[in-house]
Amino acid sequence: MIVARRKPLAEIEAVVQDCTQVLVVGCGSCMAVCQAGGEKEVEILARQLRMRARLASRCQIVDEITLPRQCDPEFLRPLAALVDRYQALVSMACGAGVQLLAEQFAHRPVFPALDTLFLGVNEGPGTWGQRCLACGQCILHLTAGICPKTLCAKGLLNGPCGGTKHGKCEVNAEKTCAWAAIYNRLEKWGRLELIGRIWPPADWSVVDTPARHGTSLAEESAP
């Protein structure tokens, strides 16, 4: 899933303080799961903004709504009847959701309340770790299910760099060296030959930004 972290309150407050009516929009998918922008976090942020407004003697109405997802126009439709009541929307979705919201309601400013971090997994209570770069060229079948592009700080494809120390990473001694982990797992499997060949440089052309995927592309280019 996509993992994000809420921005500091002061930063969010600074961008909405001149708006008298604000709608905080939560996202019930990834952002709810990573405890950054689901219903509960929407309620907390809305309360904090109200409290700050009151302390500063500003007249500001802060309302709340949480949608199942913000990355699909279908789920944004219920907002159509509401947005005109507000001077600004504060989105608690990932960067993709914020942008779709802004695109669908282009006449209203949409402010992000989160910093989107990575594609990752839950590693324990309140902790998430990155696992995927969305590189468009998955090689996990060759690397024992451990992604060196993501988990090696340098994204190396042909083995560890000289900075690995006791199986830890040069950049952060608390992190496991991805190549030590790949090697250990493949050695246990007796499949070291999978990483024995020299891998060619990655093809970055397959992830040209902005990337798109799907059938509508072909339909669009058809005469």
Partner: protein, 293 residues
């Protein structure tokens, strides 16, 4: 003019290279002095490429200055700061400027350097960079396009014989040989047996191995290397030796230790030579070599 390093590796019985870092700034006076002092004692001089991710004058420019001073430079080239276009372009530039040797490295991460906010590149890794050099030597770029005039670089790489774990290091070492590395300069060695057991296990044939020699100048430096530098092991007895002599005599003791290591490597013949890293004390290289004779 110094003989080509490629020929030295083929013909000479014991090879010596030394490393120097470019200045941080435009003052090249110390550098020119060092080249003058050590140029005739060593077979080639490595020039580091923003070593430890600290921004300095480019290795390319300093290599050219060494060449003009009559020395034989080895261009260190890392994958940290350039994508595949810039790497190839700089390699062609090096060849055009008369540089014939290139040491291909991954490079330290920008986070540990003096511009930690920088975007690290790593479009290629050291193995792929060696393949790029092999392609350019055959008159082709990485995309397969023909070049108007090929290079004929003598490519080298690095290896850490004391790496922990060692398995992945040997895997990469073999890939580097397969990708065309003709010579290796190792991470600092303080224990000749450690190097010997690595070479026994890795079995490199047909490549020149130069053992890395770092000049120790204090017991603290020895402890620092043990704690901070991956794959470097300074035996306690060497740290004690440095601690036992008064401060003003520690540099001389460090020079003796380096000379003893060089002599041990040469006398046992476990590899073809040494690569001296006298960080900040490059002018001591001739003295180390004299003592090692």
């Amino acid at each position: 003019m110094a003989p080509a390093f490629r020929d030295v590796c083929r013909q000479k019985s014991f090879i010596v290279t030394a490393e120097m870092g470019p200045p941080k700034g435009t003052d090249t006076s110390r550098l020119r002095e060092i080249v003058h002092q050590i140029g005739s004692s060593v077979d080639a001089i490595n020039v580091t490429d923003n070593q430890s991710a600290v921004m300095k004058v480019s290795s390319l420019a300093i290599c050219r200055l060494i060449l003009e001073a009559g020395g034989e430079p080895i261009l260190q080239l890392t994958c940290r700061d350039r994508n595949r276009l810039a790497l190839q372009s700089d390699l062609l530039a090096a060849w055009v400027l008369g540089i014939r040797n290139v040491l291909c490295l991954t490079g330290d991460h920008v986070r540990i350097g003096d511009h930690p906010q920088a975007k690290p590149v790593f479009d290629l890794d050291s193995v792929q960079l060696l393949q790029v050099v092999a392609n350019l030597n055959q008159g082709r770029d990485l995309a397969g396009n023909a070049l108007e005039g090929a290079t004929d670089f003598f490519p080298g790489a690095v290896v850490t014989p004391g790496a922990d774990p060692l398995g992945p290091q040997i895997l990469k070492f073999r890939k580097k040989i397969a990708a065309g590395a003709r010579f290796f300069q190792t991470q600092a060695i303080f224990d000749v047996d450690q190097l010997k057991s690595f070479l026994d296990r890795a079995q490199p044939n047909g490549v020149t191995i130069l053992a890395g020699i770092v000049l120790l100048v204090s017991p603290r430096m020895g402890q620092f290397l043990n704690e901070k530098i991956p794959g470097v092991y300074v035996p306690e007895r060497l740290i004690e030796r440095l601690a036992e002599v008064p401060k003003e005599k520690r540099l001389a003791e460090g020079i003796r230790i380096a000379a003893e290591l060089i002599r041990a490597i040469r006398d046992t013949g476990i590899c073809q030579g040494v690569h001296i890293m006298a960080i900040g004390r490059e002018e001591k290289v001739p003295e180390i070599l004299r003592l090692a004779e």
